[in-house]
């Protein structure tokens, strides 16, 4: 692949500081343990190595930097690492489960708060935390951690991944986020773990039908019902004039816009992975995104700049699965999710296919309902 004519720039980086975690979530994409680390043969990079890598990324033009894991605060050098990196001038996002925020970490985060903090919340009770993460106490630790983090000037996001064991807590988790004035994000899909991750997800993840039903309910609560309430309270307004509400209703149109944009730009994987974003893994590999592990370059041996420049030359451009060639449904599967599910970038996954098709029908149905309402009201 000729990288010269590709418009690439390493604007957004992910530093996966560790793949270890103090929790043992059933559905974790990334988590490994010491035994798996030995089997994989890699080693976590040192404090000095990460700081030097951050300097190289800064010189290469990275502006957005995500610090994540596993659980990054599990590293004994987290404070030393963080306080050096944060002064380099990145827009820092920190992902954490908020259970390990000790006194020293509070001090450094108070002095240098991340621009954005994403806290993953696994349930709304100690019982649910026990089922999902194996650790009931982690619930109260998370609540205490969140209570500290919400006082920082950082933009706060509550994230969750829903499986069979915590689906009944979804509304409470959403309410927790709303009470904190935090963004709320549900993982779109639970795939099998990547790059040697040890979680076993097939038994605990939702079926495609359950997952789409969950998002249908959320969309109704968050978008459709508030829209109807607004329409009822403002009977004299022409609903087609309300740009904000139209943007809520234009899910399908936005998706179409994105598809058109992607068709005009050559990419490596069909997205920004390896184009304007990258991930450096816990064991020192530069990959397209945290879910990809099909190929890598070595930034710690060969410098960040060389590893970034060489990346298109070593990756194999993924083809669409044969089964998908004639399909016209907007699909949420991508090379990364296909790789996670099947072991191949071009592998076909029945799970992903069913979820995409059901999701498409669900979105179209809600959109049509809203548009019908707009037509009726404005007549």
């Amino acid at each position: 692949m000729d990288s010269i004519d590709m418009d690439r720039s390493p604007l957004n980086g992910t530093f996966e500081l560790t793949a270890r975690c103090n929790l043992q979530c059933k559905m974790c994409l990334i988590r490994i343990d010491e035994k798996r680390m030995q089997e994989l043969g890699g080693r976590e990079r040192t404090t000095k190595e990460w700081i030097h890598m951050a300097q190289e990324a800064e010189e290469a033009g990275t502006i957005g930097l995500l610090l994540t894991g596993g659980e990054p605060m599990l590293r004994s050098d987290f404070i030393g690492l963080y306080q050096e990196i944060v002064k380099m001038g990145f827009i820092i996002t920190l992902y954490t489960n908020a259970t390990l925020i000790n006194k020293e970490i509070r001090e450094i985060l108070s002095k240098y708060p991340p621009h954005k903090i994403g806290v993953t919340v696994y349930g709304a009770s100690q019982e649910t935390y026990k089922r999902v993460t194996g650790n009931a106490n982690a619930y109260l630790q998370m609540i205490e951690g969140l209570d500290f983090l919400r006082k920082l000037p950082s933009q706060l996001q509550v994230r969750t991944t829903i499986i069979k064991d915590n689906i009944n807590d979804l509304d409470q988790i959403a309410n927790l986020a709303s009470g904190l004035y935090a963004e709320f994000s549900i993982s779109r899909i639970v795939t099998k773990p990547v790059r040697g991750g040890i979680a076993k997800v097939e038994d605990c993840r939702l079926t495609p039908e359950q997952s789409v039903a969950m998002f249908h309910d959320r969309n109704r609560k968050e978008i459709v019902d508030p829209f109807y309430k607004f329409a009822d309270e403002n009977p004299d307004l022409m609903l087609t004039d309300i740009g904000t509400l139209e943007s809520h209703a234009c899910v399908a149109q936005e998706f179409e816009g994105m598809t058109v944009q992607k068709a005009h730009k050559r990419t490596l994987y069909g997205c920004e992975a390896g184009m304007t974003s990258y991930c450096i893994t816990w064991d020192g590999k530069l990959i397209g995104c945290q879910m990809l592990g099909d190929c890598w370059t070595d930034p710690f041996t060969n410098t960040f700049k060389k590893a970034w420049n060489d990346f298109p030359n070593i990756m194999k451009h993924p083809e669409k699965p044969r089964e998908c060639e004639s399909c016209r449904t907007g699909c949420s599967a991508c090379p990364a999710t296909r790789l996670a599910e099947t072991g191949r970038l071009d592998g076909f996954s029945e799970y992903l296919c069913r979820e995409s098709k059901l999701s498409h029908v669900m979105e179209e149905s809600l959109l049509s309902e809203i548009q019908q309402r707009i037509k009726r009201e404005d007549r």
Partner: protein, 93 residues
């Protein structure tokens, strides 16, 4: 003699061909989007970063850009007002 200095906690980064100001520390609370610096603004920023007095700044600018003192003072005034609005400037009498 009026001294001006950029407040602590703002870092200039060169991203592609653009110089942008990134807030760190408590300054992130007021972060509403990037401020970018053109060539002249970057020149002034670097002079002000460590603290300077306004008359020296104007002299430096006339020499660097071969412009009149009046033009330099106008540009400096406009730039400092922008910095003050963004709460990035310390001033000392």
């Amino acid at each position: 003699m009026k001294l001006v200095k950029i407040k602590e906690g703002f870092i200039v980064r060169k991203i592609a061909d653009t110089n942008i100001v990134v807030p760190i520390g408590d300054n992130i609370a007021d972060f509403n989007g990037f401020i970018s610096l053109n060539e002249t603004a970057l020149f002034l920023w670097k002079k002000i970063a460590g603290g300077t007095d306004l008359s020296q700044l104007a002299n430096d600018m006339t020499q660097e850009y071969e412009i009149s003192m009046e033009t330099a003072q106008k540009d400096i005034k406009r730039f400092l007002e922008r910095l003050k609005r963004a709460d990035m400037l310390d001033e000392y009498a």
